[in-house]
Subunit: 280 residues, 2 copies
């Protein structure tokens, strides 16, 4: 999907919501456990209830890999379902991959090359620590996106991402300044946590045009209004992720209805912000 | 496996060789392609030919994930084979994982919790960018190891790992100084590339006791003698990895014999170094 197509999708749905499918078998409603593939059944119902309000879905691969081959089968079925919606959803493999060049090429195939792996997500999250040759192989796939970790929403972000250079620049800014030259706003995005929304102004000075994938709104304390104020650009430029607050909004038989209601509430707030900033 | 058990294994085999199973379907000998599971058959023959000289095997997960469910099946069979050797091999899932805490816990299960995922490797490689809460969940599994990326052997290592702080310390030293306190020399190791062997002296000032997993000897230009000189400690403290130079030493029907010969040559050099430094 191109940047323009993503922006059109955002305008059509009046939403820049990404739903994270961190579908933990231990946390899904108990009444689903009798089904043939409980995690897929959970995802299917969540997707069905939220798709009207959601532009992107982000399966978190850890929650599938932890269940071995069974989990990968649930992931494959979930991917095929998302794929059946065509240009109505943007799909992100949340995998945090990154290794030396020939290995990153294999990781890229694992999420982008359907003939080889069965998967053809639109985007994958990538860790920057190993530098240019660890990221570039993901950019060699036309129409696909690498979403590079810059500033994450967790406490551990303070350990290294704020490591200050000689001239007072923190590492995450160095990651942005250097890595954005490896691709363009048409094939790279960045993870910037909402829990540090005030940093978005600094981020936008370095990468005004790129899309940002923003975790940490809601449960983790980030404010959607702050994120929009500092993060929106002429193409929207934001995908705001919510995972647990939507998919685990309820653990009873009504879980899908509750998930849909949570997604609708976020979409409504996003619609107001998109209108406020004249994007719709 | 404990640090002492690993050291005993090294002394028994007179080797600190790790063989990387980067088993690319495109590169394995053509005569294997007719078999039911060519990648497993390739691994089986390589392991059989090299195990006498090898203390650790390191499947590179990218090369399995790129083939989807089929690839994960090859990985599972390879793991079961390695597991059948018990304390005669140390097994490393080369996965470069790392995410926020609850997600890293799932990644840890994907490589350590056999009941859940089918895998129970001794160790996993971990990326440090997201900090303490992204690494610690891997340390919660008794008897298991997290091998944290510090200084890698690729060109891209220069992009961020040498990012200099206010007081002239590069980032990789900060990663060592800070992260080694999250665990101990009994459950953490570090990746330090052999292509920068002179840095090992600096590394040993910060972490004298930890095991180091060292890629980049041979094909990438690192010298085993230099690595031993600066890297060996009282428990050996080194696992030197070779991947392509061993497993793809030949592409004909004799590939396993050639792989065995390459592993033997490295073991012989290691035996001399272990004796020279009075470790055997």
């Amino acid at each position: 999907m191109t940047r323009q197509e993503l922006f059109e999708l955002i305008k059509r749905k009046k939403s820049f919501l990404c739903v994270g499918l961190d579908s933990d078998l231990q946390k899904i409603p108990k009444h689903l456990l009798g089904s043939d593939d409980p995690v897929f059944e959970f995802n299917r119902q969540v997707i069905d209830a939220t798709i009207e309000y959601t532009v992107a879905y982000k399966p978190n691969l850890a929650f599938y890999e932890s269940r071995g081959l069974k989990g990968m089968h649930s992931l494959e079925r979930t991917f095929k379902l998302l794929q059946s919606y065509g240009k109505e959803v943007f799909t992100i493999a949340d995998a945090k991959r990154g290794d030396i060049g020939n290995t990153s090429t294999q990781y890229a195939k694992s999420v982008f090359d359907e003939t080889s792996s069965g998967f053809s997500f639109d985007a994958v999250t990538v860790a920057p620590y190993m530098g240019e040759d660890s990221v570039k192989p993901f950019l060699d796939f036309p129409g696909k996106w690498a979403i590079v970790l810059a500033l994450t929403s967790n406490k551990g972000a303070e350990d290294f991402q704020f490591f200050l250079s000689e001239n007072g620049t923190p590492l995450f800014q160095q990651v942005l300044s250097r890595s954005h030259k490896w691709g363009s706003a048409e094939n790279m995005m960045y993870v910037i946590g909402a829990t540090r929304a005030e940093m978005l102004a600094e981020v936008r000075k370095i990468i005004p045009d790129h899309f940002l994938l923003v975790p940490g709104v809601g449960a983790q304390g980030g404010s959607l209004q702050e994120v929009a104020k500092y993060g929106l650009n002429s193409h929207c430029g934001l995908l705001v992720n919510a995972s647990r607050s939507i998919i685990f909004a309820s653990s009873d038989t009504e879980f899908a209805i509750k998930a849909g209601a949570e997604a609708l509430a976020m979409q409504k707030e996003m619609e107001i912000l998109l209108a406020l900033y004249s994007l719709i």
